[in-house]
Every structure is written in structure tokens, then in C-alpha cells.
Amino acid sequence: MSRTKKGFNFKKFFDPQPHDENKANPDINEPITRKAIAKSLADIDDLVMKDIKIGEHQVTIIYLHTIVKKTLIDEMVYNPLNKSKSVKPEDVFKNFEVVDRDQLPKLIHDICSGYTVILFEQTVIKINTYSAPDRAITSPENETTVMGPQDGFVENVETNLSLIKKRIRSPQLKSKSILLGTETKNNVVVLYMDNIANEENVKRVLTRLENVEFHGFLGMAVLKQMLEDKPFSPFPQFGITVRSDNTVDALLNGKIIVMMNGSPEAAILPASFLEMFLSPEDYYNRWTTATLLRMLRLAGFFISILLTSTYVAVLTFHPEMLPPQLLRLLAESRAKVPFPPIMEALIIELVIEVLREAGARMPSKIGQTIGIVGGIVIGTAAVEAGLASNILIVLVAVTALLSFIPPSYLMSNAIRFIRYFYILAAGILGIYGQMIVFAWMFNHLSNMTSLGTPYLTPIIPRKWTDLLNSVIRTPTKFMVQRAGISRAKKDLIRPLDEE
């Protein structure tokens, strides 16, 4: 991808530092010995290095006790060792891997990711004993639905894979894993249906993943941003979800899922603008309700970005557009306000943002104070004091509510952000300014791609049949073709040969 070449040239400001190759500790270049391991893992206080005598022979057991449960290591390592007389690993253990003597860095990495290494005199073996405590599977809190499966992903990628493989029992479901993060060496898994997903897309995702260079990822959302086509855009270009049903649906439509150990989110590649407004619940509902809700969400997007700015534009530049009743209402409520409309709107919008942010950061026990402070003090008192017009408060509240409609949290945040462009433009150039930004936004959106596919499908059509499952969700009987955005290898959902 030429993406990495573009953009800012940091070399001008920083001297390049030597590249860490995919090794845990590149300094050590010796064969595996007890001493070498001890040196590599010096100053790690949870390191356990136990020498056991079996007969005449000495066996060393090495693991990190914080990520290996005591019961597990007893059961898997100590008990077999204690019982056996032999020092041949294949006599003692049933489930182990032999390590080459010269692969020290890899071994060190394995120890750090929960393996137990046992040094026999001749051979070195490792046993996967990773058993760090994990969160239990709970229902997803950020993407709730009333109907449908309620199991959300957790931080352990294997649990998440199990949730998916529970639903797709097919050998076509491929999962490739890559280690990413120059420091963290985190396990990143790419999932796709081999018979459906577009090969070019898969290749593209894998190359992009290989090109990523970063010290570590806080979560999937960070990695996702590095895979996107247009990193400068305010709009999210890939979907992100913690719902297992969402993920399965994406896989079946030929999309590619990227998951990361340590992050409960799964990225869906590619995703379109419209898909940010779709919820899996649309498929659980009747098609009529689903269509209504989808229209509501999309209309909500436009109203949310345009409502407050229209208030600013009309009050500042186009009072002739108001019908007499509305004019009287607005002029009355504005009569005592000391700020020009744009300032007023910006202040109230910012107050709402602050409320949101405070509500999100505040411990849930004192969260209800926010409601009281926000609702009563800012809402009622500000109007009564004449600091803001009550109509604006209504508009801003509606806007804030509407911006929560999209099921995608990232899209909801994008709306939050671009709204300020509209307000500023409306304050400078009125409705004309709004439309300038609107035109710019449409041009931007239509130029955007998600994994090489137009972001605005199905408005920019890949396939005309996409329209059947867009703003209008037709009954499932009509959905014969897969979504065009993923350019699926297998086009038809049903074989249709017997129909």
C-alpha cells in the first residue's frame, strides 16, 4: 500500500533508530541454557525457576507464576514429573512441544506469554500453561439489543474465537494469527470465510497488518485506525463490534474480521458508511420495523449535524425564513441573551459535551448527580438567567439525543465532531456556509474507500441489489445476493439451483 509513503516525513526531525526484528531480546544470541534464560529474564520477580532432581538427572522448570495458575501447573507439570522415573519428555508428558536449542528469543517470548519451559539435559520442551484470570462472558454493554444472542466478546482472543466457531462450524472459517507490536508482541487473529471472502481483500488486510509498526496496542480500535484507508478522515472506515452475532453476520457476508488478544472488540473490514447505522437487531425485527428504524437513524444523522447550525444561520442571517409564530417565539426567547447566536450555540453545545464526558468518566455511584446538575442547573437555570434561549436548549438536547442513535459509537463521535464545522460555517456564512460544508462532506465521503471499496455503497453502487438491504430492509426472502461492499467470491446466499 502506498499509504505508508504518503503523509508527513518524520525523518526530517528524528534520527531513525535500529529496527527491532521480531525477537524478544535481540541482544542474546546464544543457545538455550539455564544461564542464558536466567540472564534474559533477570529482574522479573514472578519468574519461577525450579530445579528438580529426577533420579540422577536435573530438570529445570521455568514459568511466570502470575500468568500460570498453580493448580494447572501442578496438574500439568509437577504431577507427571513426580510420578515418572524417566527423563525422556515423551515418557513424562503427553502434550508438549520440543524447542530447538538455538531459538532462545522465541522461547523467551513463549515464557512471557504463559508457557512453561522444562529443560531436560538433552532437550528443551514447552507446555502451554497460560491461565491468567479472565473476565467472564457478559452481555455487551455498549451495543445492547433487546433480542438476539447476548454474549459479548471478552479480552481473551481464544474465548472470542470460541464464540465465533461455536456459531460457524465449518472448515472454511480460517483464522490466521500474527504477532504485532514491537514491544507487546500481541496475538492478532484474522478471520475470514475462505469460500466467501475476496482473496484480494484478505491479502490486502494481511499486508497492511504486516506493515503496521507500533510499540503496542491498547485495543483493537488503535490497530484499526492504522489499517484504515484515510487516517485523516473524521469518519470511521471500519466497523468495530463486541457482539458475536454482528461478527458472524459480517463473516458470512464475506468480510474479514480482525481480533486482538487483550481487546474485546473485533474490527470488521470493510465497512460502509451506511453500515454504521445498522444494528443486528434489524434482522431480528420484522422488516417493516427495521426499515422504519433504519430511516430514523439515517435521518437522525442529518438532523443531528444540521439542526443547531440551522438555528445559528437563520437567526444571524435569514430571519425572513421564519414564519410569524416561530419568529415571535424565537425573538422572545432570545431577548435577554447577551451572546450572538453562534457563541450561544457553541457554549451550549460544549456544555452538553462536558456533561457527556463527565458522565462517562464519573464513577457510576455519583453518576446521577450529573443528571441533576445538567438537567436542572444548566437547563432551567441558564434559561431563566437569560444566558441561553430555551429553544436552543431544546434543539441542542435533540441533537445530542440524535447523535446517540447510530449503533456505532465511533460514528456517533464523528457526528459530535463534524457538527462544530457546521455551526462555525453557519455562523460565518449562514445557510450558504452550511451547504458549503455539506458539499465538502459529501465529496469527502464519496472519495473515501474502505479497503478499496467506495465508502458510500450502496449509494455509489457496487451492486444494485445492495439497495434491498440498505435504508430499506426488505424481507429476508429477497436477500439473495451478498453485500457488494465485500466483493464476495460467492455471490449468492442461497444456491437457488432447486428453486
Binding site: P319, E320, P324, L327, V337
Partner: protein, 373 residues
């Protein structure tokens, strides 16, 4: 590179637009004096007395409207003049009603004023035009007990409703359109102040070109409206000659129009113009004074016949009146224009219209007589 480019653009935008002169704040909605009504009174040939009224939005204001009048030549001159009197910036953006005194409408004509208002992009074209009896200033300054403030009151009064549908509800566009369409003449509602406390659309003012020439009564005006355009008309009261056995001479009947249809047939010859007007009326009887049994089919036919006769007389009478005045508020001329487009002019048509041979036929259908016999 790109980012700096965008940053420069925004910087330019802000410097070039927002902060041209920081001392001059752009007036926003509460600083604007929105003129709701503009009135024009005759002073002399040059000058006109313009009264404006601005609604006061504030709840605490003692008076709900501010009113000013000034003697000037042109409408926008008045805005300039009055702006210096108030704390607000006057704008005609919310102008809704334009009133003319009868004297002004008869002597000066409306064209000069309306053309200039039409020119201003800030003034809409859906502004109602009306002629008032007496001076506009009196009407505007008057106190109307139990009525909303004058702006609202006049707007509501002049907004089309079925009950006042006899009036043409002329807007600036309509007036200019009628005045310049080469076939017809404008007409506007005529407002009078009655019993000190209310305003009423009593008549319809007729114009010849842009000058007012006469008024007609609502009953006749209803027929004109029926001929102009198909629309819902108010109830129509009519006196029918009573049957012989009745004790009254005449019986009153109130007809509620359900719909009307109209078309004209012309011979298209400007030398010997012939005009046949056909009106079709469907309606139901809501009030009936006489004693005839309305449920009887024959009786009903009888009444229909009488109604037709009455309405035909009225139509003929009204059109005669237009012929005498030399005006054509309905726009019969259009039918002639189509056939004589080449050498068409309004003068020619007026001349022809005045000696046109008018015939008419009104067809009435009573579709219901209510719930009792």
C-alpha cells in the same frame, strides 16, 4: 502541505468575513425591527405617508407593537427614515401586509410602490395587499379590543379561509401578475373598520390597471372567484321567488358550495366578440325558509331551476358591470388571446370586451338537503 493549505483557507475566511469591523456587530434577530405591516396614505402627487408597525417580541414590553409614520417618496426611504428613530435595525424581511388607503389607490395607483417592493429580494412575494376605507394610519393605530395585536390580526384576517373566500386574497405577486398579464385587472380585498372594535373585509376593490375604480359586494365577488379558479367558496344566500301558494313573496335559501366548475366558450372574433360563460355548481342546502318539501325530487328540480335563473342573472349583472367599467378581473381575455395572439393588446381587448355579447348558463345540482325533510 495540505493541512497548511486548509489552515490558510480558514484563516483567510475568518479575517475576510467574521471580523471586518469588530465594532460593528451584525444585527441578529432580536436587534432587528421586523416590519409587519406597511401602510400608504395619500399626501400629494409626489409624497406618500408611510406607516410601519413592528411587533415587539419581548414579553415585558408595555405595547405589543411599535408604530411609526413618515412622509417620503419611496418605500425604502421610509425604512431608512424610521430606522434612525428606533433602537432597532429595520428590515422589510418579515413584511406580510401592505395596506393602501382608498384615496391613494384611486388617485396614485399601486404600481410604483409594489414594483419597488417586488424589486427588493428581501421582501417576499406572498405579501397580502389590501385597500382600506379612510386612512391607513387610523386603521393601524386603532385599538381593537379583545383582538390580537394589529400585525397578527391583519395577517389572520387576510389569510385565505373558506368563510372569507369571496375576497381575492391578492398578494404582491398576484397584483403584479394581474396588472401585467395583458388580459385582466387586479382586485383586492377592501377593509373597513366597523363598530370601533373590529376590522372586516366588507367588499372587493376593483382596479383598472393599477388604479382602483370601484368595489363590488361579496355576493357578486363570490361568483368572480368561482369563475377565476376552482376553490372552496363560502355559503351563498339567495332569494328565490316563492311558489304561488306560499305566504311570503320570496324565500331565502342558503347554499353551501361543494364545488364549482367554470369554463368559457368564446368565438375568438375581436370584431364581434361573443362570450358564453358556463358555471356548474354543486352544493347542499343548509338553510331554507320556504315550505316546499325538499325531499321531493320534482320540488328539488324546481328549486334548482330557480337557483340557476337567479345565478345566471347575477353573473350577467356582474359581467355587465365590468363591461361598463372597462375592466376584466376574471381574465376572460385569455380565451380570446389564444385565438388572436398575433396583434393582441390589452386596450384592444378592453375595447372588444365592452361590446361583447355575453351569454351564460349556470347549472346547479343540489346534492343534499340535510338530515330532515
Amino acid at each position: 502541505m495540505k493541512l497548511t493549505c486548509i489552515a490558510c483557507c480558514f484563516l483567510l475566511l475568518f479575517t475576510s468575513s467574521g471580523c471586518a469591523n469588530p465594532n460593528l456587530e451584525k444585527p441578529v434577530i432580536e436587534d432587528l425591527g421586523m416590519i409587519g405591516i406597511m401602510g400608504f396614505d395619500y399626501v400629494d402627487e409626489e409624497n406618500v405617508k408611510i406607516s410601519v408597525s413592528l411587533p415587539q417580541p419581548s414579553r415585558d414590553a408595555e405595547e405589543q407593537v411599535q408604530q411609526f409614520s413618515t412622509v417620503v417618496k419611496m418605500p425604502h426611504q421610509a425604512i431608512m427614515d424610521v430606522s434612525t428613530l428606533t433602537e432597532k435595525t429595520l428590515t422589510p424581511a418579515q413584511l406580510r401586509v401592505v395596506l393602501f388607503s382608498e384615496e391613494y389607490a384611486r388617485t396614485e395607483g399601486l404600481w410604483k410602490i409594489l414594483e419597488n417592493l417586488y424589486r427588493d429580494p428581501h421582501v417576499g412575494t406572498n405579501i397580502y395587499v389590501a385597500v382600506v376605507k379612510g386612512t391607513v394610519e387610523d386603521i393601524m393605530k386603532g385599538e381593537y379590543k379583545d383582538k390580537p395585536e394589529i400585525n397578527n390580526y391583519l395577517i389572520e384576517l387576510l389569510t385565505p379561509r373558506t368563510i372569507t373566500a369571496f375576497s381575492p386574497f391578492t398578494t404582491i405577486h398576484d397584483f403584479i401578475y394581474r396588472n401585467t398579464d395583458e388580459v385582466s385587472d387586479p382586485s383586492t380585498p377592501y377593509i373597513e373598520r366597523i363598530e370601533e372594535n373590529s376590522l372586516k373585509i366588507t367588499k372587493v376593490a376593483l382596479f383598472k390597471n393599477d388604479k382602483m375604480v370601484d368595489t363590488i359586494e361579496p355576493e357578486e365577488a363570490k361568483l368572480i372567484e368561482a369563475m377565476k379558479k376552482q376553490k372552496k367558496l363560502p355559503d351563498f344566500s339567495i332569494m328565490l321567488p316563492a311558489p304561488e301558494e306560499s305566504k311570503h313573496d320570496e324565500e331565502m335559501l342558503i347554499l353551501r358550495f361543494v364545488n364549482t366548475r367554470f369554463h368559457a366558450k368564446v368565438n375568438g372574433d375581436l370584431e364581434k366578440p361573443k362570450l358564453f360563460i358556463y358555471v356548474y355548481v354543486r352544493g347542499s342546502i343548509v338553510d331554507y325558509e320556504g315550505e316546499t318539501d325538499l325531499a321531493n325530487r320534482e320540488n328539488r328540480m324546481n328549486i334548482e331551476e330557480k337557483l340557476e335563473k337567479q345565478l345566471e342573472d347575477k353573473v350577467i349583472m356582474t359581467v355587465r358591470k365590468f363591461q361598463e367599467l372597462g375592466i376584466d378581473p376574471v381574465g376572460f381575455g385569455d380565451y380570446f388571446r389564444i385565438k388572436n395572439a398575433r396583434e393582441w393588446s390589452k386596450e384592444k381587448w378592453m375595447e372588444a370586451f365592452q361590446r361583447a355579447d355575453i351569454t351564460t348558463h349556470v347549472e346547479t345540482r343540489i346534492i343534499s338537503t340535510g338530515m330532515i325533510r
